[in-house]
Amino acid sequence: MSPLLSKDGTILTDLYPLLPDDQPVPAEGRSVLVPLSRFTEIGRYSGIGLSLPNTTDVLKLPSSVLQLPLLALDFPSFGDGRAYSQARWLSGRLGYRGELRARGQAVVLDQLEMLRSCGFSQFELRNDQNLQACADKLAHPTAVSRRRFPSLA
């Protein structure tokens, strides 16, 4: 399982493990992360995290999605930065206040500070990452995190 860090570099226990495709969405009790494609299977149970592809127009999501406790955005490759803008919309314009998790190939030491600046609050590190170095990076922000023109609305 990939290590999970909070925005200040604390190691977190993953309370929303990814639900395998062949298992039903739980109705209560257990919290899981499910892909957007299974959104219709989510009932009224609020312990669900939703994972969004980076091609989703987050402005068109049903308002109930913004009430979920966790949204996960995906970085399918190291250089594909679409989810940075999705995160900005969710945490800024749409006022999403739950946890915003970054997952995928770009969740690495060299992108953590920028991910955090765009509103991500949890980082599911890529498996090959040095956990301590990543935790330190988040715990000790460099000047790069202190920009003069705050981007986050």
Partner: protein, 554 residues
């Protein structure tokens, strides 16, 4: 000069430390090569045909003498004793060692320089008019606006992983000297009918494989909204720009495929939600930015000098130089002085370490310790008193920097080509040299008049061939170097893309071909007042084509 504050310096120092760590991790194998490639490109480091190439940022082309001396030091210590000024007002070193690049960056940071975002799919160096602050036809000095934009773009967390590179240029003068219409965003600082300052905004221009002239997305954007509007454009592009094919990933393709109205609608909708947020410029923001630029007093009595007129009448070589290499200054008695980097036997844009040091000394002596790099690969001293022009010319002549050819045929824009670049199909520098030899006779060049000859070694178009009055593009034909010629391009206010003449010509005939084109122009023009571009636009391709391909047909 813009003088760094503590924040600017911390940012640059942090990047040096970060890059040193990234290089270390790459060399010890813990950072994958492909990821290091992305990261080093964002710090201007390419791996080229023979060695790495390091591109150093010169924001809006402005350099101090102290910075120029540092570039000379880097050329000597880490390179082969020279550097290459590019078409984006930056400088490149072609022979640094990978392991030494962190040290080069640390040296640069001591003089408020860096290589941040000079490559990679992010917002690149902000470019502008090399005459900014001094031009006679200027509305306001665009540099504080450029600097604000630079600070917004530097390490912008959201826009560091765009579909493709992103270039922004500013112009604030009647004549566009920054090629704004061939940039991803081109901004013209303007005044509206009510007398308020603001911006005319162009989007979706660019050269490369699919050259496109930018379209106007906004007639007038109020002055405080510069950054929020750029942010809205970038956000729409980051989300919707194509990522399936790198040759279709620039914003120009998105604008073309969506159509300007649909694209503009998205931008305006996004902008409406952020325009009154933290990016809106507040009263005093621009004033503070202006105050961070060094100010200097020009000599109000400079125009009273008599020696300039006397030297002009005494020395015809000096007079010839003044006709081509000087431009009008907004303050009487002062001139803008071009240092031509297009001398015989030198690759366009190349400067040796010795020249750099000497240029720095001359800048201190005659030009308030400042100089500019231009997008056509020359240097400029912007504020020289007329009484200093003669000794300056003598010094520049001794350095090989006074070729009186600015704007003439041998003032060629040219990429590094096959000799350095792994992408190139053809030796652009060698061809530039051949053309130099052919047209060296200055009387002949003066007779031809102002003309822009731009050459690229491949279709990526670093030499801006598509917007040259005459454009030359190197193409590969079964392993041989051939050249495709275009006519009628322009990067000015009347921006246009050149038209292909027809089949490409082989290496042995390229200089003849250019000569045939020039001779056709001389025959066709109505008078000496009709420049090449105007003549071509009037008569069209047929006479040029007929002449160019006549020998083949015969």
């Amino acid at each position: 000069m813009y003088r760094y504050d503590q924040h600017d310096q911390q940012l640059v120092d942090a990047r040096v430390a970060e890059f040193r760590d990234q290089t270390r991790r790459y060399l010890d194998g813990s950072l994958p090569a492909d990821e290091f490639r992305h990261l080093r490109l964002r710090n201007g480091l390419y791996i080229q045909r023979f060695a790495p190439m390091l591109r150093i940022s010169i924001p809006y082309g402005l350099l101090s003498s102290q910075q120029m001396r540092m570039l000379a030091h880097i050329a000597r210590k880490y390179d082969k004793g020279y550097g290459h000024f590019t078409t984006r007002q930056n400088i490149q070193f072609n022979w640094p060692k990978l392991e030494e690049v962190p040290d080069i960056l640390a040296d640069l940071a001591t003089v408020q320089m860096h290589a941040i975002q000079t490559s990679g799919n992010c917002i690149r160096n902000i470019t502008s008019d090399p005459f900014a602050g001094a031009a006679a036809d200027e509305l306001v000095d665009p540099r504080p606006y450029c600097e604000l934009t630079r600070q917004w773009a530097t390490f912008h967390p959201e826009f560091n992983w765009l579909p493709r590179k992103f270039k922004i240029a500013f112009s604030s003068s009647t004549k566009d000297r920054a090629a704004t219409r061939v940039h991803d965003i081109g901004i013209h600082i303007v005044r509206n009918a009510a007398g308020e300052l603001g911006y005319e905004v162009y989007v979706g221009g660019g050269l490369g494989r699919t050259p496109i002239i930018g379209l106007k997305i906004r007639d007038f954007l109020p002055e405080p909204d510069l950054l929020s509007y750029c942010e809205a454009i970038l956000r729409v592009y980051n989300l919707l720009g194509r990522r399936d094919n790198m040759y279709k990933a620039r914003i120009k393709i998105l604008v073309k495929e969506m159509g300007l109205p649909a694209f503009a609608e998205k931008v305006e909708a996004e902008w409406a939600t952020i325009k009154d947020g933290p990016l809106k410029l507040k009263d005093g923001d621009l004033e503070r930015m202006k105050a961070q630029f060094s100010q200097f007093e020009l000599d109000p009595s400079a125009a009273k000098d008599q020696s300039y007129a006397q030297k002009l009448s005494e020395d015809s070589a000096f007079a010839a130089w003044t006709r081509r290499n000087l431009k009008d200054h907004r303050v009487p008695g002062h001139k803008l002085v071009f240092l031509s980097l297009k001398a015989r036997g030198v690759a366009p844009g190349d400067v040796s370490a010795e020249q750099m040091d000497a240029i720095a000394d001359l800048a201190d002596r005659y030009a308030f310790g400042e100089l500019r790099a231009t997008h056509d690969q020359n240097l400029v001293f912007t504020d020289v008193r007329q009484q200093d022009l003669y000794p300056l010319w003598q010094a520049l002549s001794a350095l090989g920097l006074a070729t009186p050819n600015i704007g003439l045929l041998t003032d060629v824009i040219c990429c590094p080509g096959l000799d350095f670049c792994s992408l190139s199909n053809a030796s652009s520098i060698a061809v530039a040299e051949e053309i130099f030899d052919r047209f060296e006779d200055l009387d002949y060049q003066h007779d031809i008049g102002s003309i822009k000859l731009n050459m690229s070694g491949c279709m990526n178009g670093c030499g801006h061939h598509s917007v040259g009055h005459i454009g030359i593009l190197g193409v590969d034909k079964k392993g041989e170097e051939w050249y495709q010629i275009t006519l009628g391009g322009s990067s000015g206010n009347d921006a246009s893309l050149g038209d292909r003449t027809g089949p490409s010509v082989e290496r042995a005939h390229i200089a003849d071909a250019i000569q045939n084109i020039v001779e056709t122009y001389l025959q066709q023009r109505l008078s000496e007042e009709e420049g090449f571009l105007a003549c071509y636009r009037r008569v069209g391709m047929p006479p040029f084509k007929t002449r160019l391909y006549a020998e083949e047909a015969a």
